[in-house]
């Protein structure tokens, strides 16, 4: 089936892309199809407005999810979709890049917004450039038009009364030359930092892992949560991956963000841009965080944070 195709690793992002897909398909007067990994999910996607579900058969043991690429490419070659929207998980990004290359078409990676140019029947897509310093608008001149879209960009599609659709079984994936020898699922139950009203963010200026306690105390008196910069999670591994903020991490919109020893490079600031109030604590008065902050405190965090805690306690009488 031509039209708009949706592909994501799991249920929630599929439903999110489905709501965007239904909208675009209605404007184009075409149908919406989605890939599903189980017949149960297939049923649900149809209830939520999908016209066709392409059911992917289970993979053989030890095959990574990316093994479906040849199947997806084959279906696209047979059916000629106008648009393919793919959930921007890491696997989704690899699948999309390989599929786009095989289909000789363009892919807008990390698309943060899209609309349809009705006249040209073309998607107008936005994405971040230079670590978030700029927004780039692109159109895809080839077909299908492809985009990977981060989670929570759209609301999930909801069940529509009595919506009907078809389920079509796809052929099995050919054996992949990449085989899985071990899987370690994520165990840490990190808080959902995107929900926090106040975020105290630990940067590399915090010299030792134990000293994160300082940030925790500040977060404690404010009723907030502790987040971090990418190197604190990835290079130092002091805090879980789910807690780092920025263009490749989580995007947050708290009422209050306090950066503690965070330099404030653009890739980080892109993730905190929508905070209501930004406070930066840094001993380098030229640190970029001060360009991005409402309140900048220049000095040693080991001196400032305890003072801040004391003042807040006094002001709130706790």
């Amino acid at each position: 089936m031509a039209g708009v195709w949706i592909l994501a690793e799991s249920r929630e992002p599929t439903l999110e892309l489905l709501s965007a897909g239904i909208d675009i398909a209605a404007q184009l007067g075409v149908k919406v199809a989605a890939f599903a990994l189980s017949s149960q999910l297939a049923e649900e996607y149809i209830k939520c407005g999908c016209d066709e579900v392409m059911l992917l058969p289970p993979l053989a043991a030890g095959q990574p999810l990316e093994s479906y690429v040849p199947v997806i490419v084959e279906e696209a070659l047979l059916n000629g979709p106008d648009i393919i929207l793919i959930g921007a998980s890491q696997r989704g990004r690899e699948i999309a890049a390989r599929a786009a290359a095989a289909l000789n078409t363009g892919l807008c990676s990390g698309c943060t917004g899209l609309r349809l140019d009705q006249e040209k029947k073309q998607l107008v897509m936005e994405r971040m450039l230079f670590g978030g310093a700029a927004v780039q608008t692109v159109v895809c001149e080839t077909r299908p038009q492809m985009a990977t879209i981060p989670p929570r960009t759209f609301e999930q599609a909801q069940p529509a009364e009595g919506h009907q659709g078809e389920v079509r079984q796809l052929p099995a994936a050919p054996p992949s030359p990449v085989t899985v020898v071990e899987r370690t699922p994520k165990t840490s139950e990190a808080v959902d930092i995107t929900e926090a009203k106040t975020v105290v963010c630990v940067g590399r200026g915090v010299g030792k892992q134990e000293d994160i306690a300082l940030a925790r105390e500040l977060a404690g008196v404010l009723g907030g949560e502790v987040g971090c910069s990418r190197p604190v999670a990835e290079d130092l591994r002091w805090l879980p991956e789910e807690l780092y903020l920025g263009i490749s991490g989580k995007k947050v919109k708290p009422d209050l963000y306090i950066g503690v020893g965070v330099a404030g490079q653009i890739q980080h600031v892109s993730g905190i841009r929508d905070s209501k109030v930004i406070v930066g604590i840094n001993r380098d008065e030229n640190a970029p965080i001060f360009e991005a902050a409402d309140y900048g405190i220049v000095g040693d965090l080991y001196d400032i944070v305890p003072k801040l805690v004391k003042e807040i306690k006094a002001a709130l009488k706790i």
Partner: protein, 257 residues
Amino acid sequence: MPRIIACFKWVMDEADIKADPKSRQLVLDRVGYKISDYDRNAIEEAVQLQEKHGGSVVGITVATPGAKPCLKDALSRGPEKACFVNDPAFENLDPSQTAAILAAAIDGKIEYDLIICGEGSSDLYAQQVGPALAEKLGIPCATYVNKLTYVEGENKVIAQRKLDDGLETVSVKLPALITVLPDLNTPRIPSLKQVLGAAKKPVDNVSLANLQQTFEPCLKTTGILAATMERRRLKFTADPEDIRKVVDSLIKEGVIA
């Protein structure tokens, strides 16, 4: 002994990019250039594998002729040779073009077992060129790798991928391509001797004419606007009175309660 190709991109340093707040146009006349951040990890990994297992490392880039300074920078980090795929037309390429040009420059022209790319480039951060190049070359790939082992005698690599849902260790037969995360290694800082030595290393120049193909873009950029942010940018010291002022303001703004 693995023959390795490390792909690197010469990019504008985003820290130098300014914006005109009224027009939201980027002001690029004072920007410096650098090797894309994560490509330094790609080069480092290639060089470490060579130090351990022998073989060779070629650094390859697709750029305009003006990017020539990238060669010395890249070669000072350890590769013994560079392939400079350059043409005045190679400006503002979209990822599909870059992947196609790399494929044309590598396929049948450079012998390799392993190609290493960064997770994403610092300017576009499309995270596409690596997997797209693998697809064009018809070789397997493993993305988002934060641990890599070359298995001698078996012609394969074991790669640990860091994904949203956990870690996945995969075994990949060579030839293959991998894309690397920054926590894989710490790139070395070239010594003066290495910087000087880099100028003497061989460079293969490849032009568009040499590739005997055309490369049309798939994506068209219709606009670029600076992302602006209105902030008050008030500055305070660590004096207790200043700290009190900040706390008072935050309470007044209703973000502390």
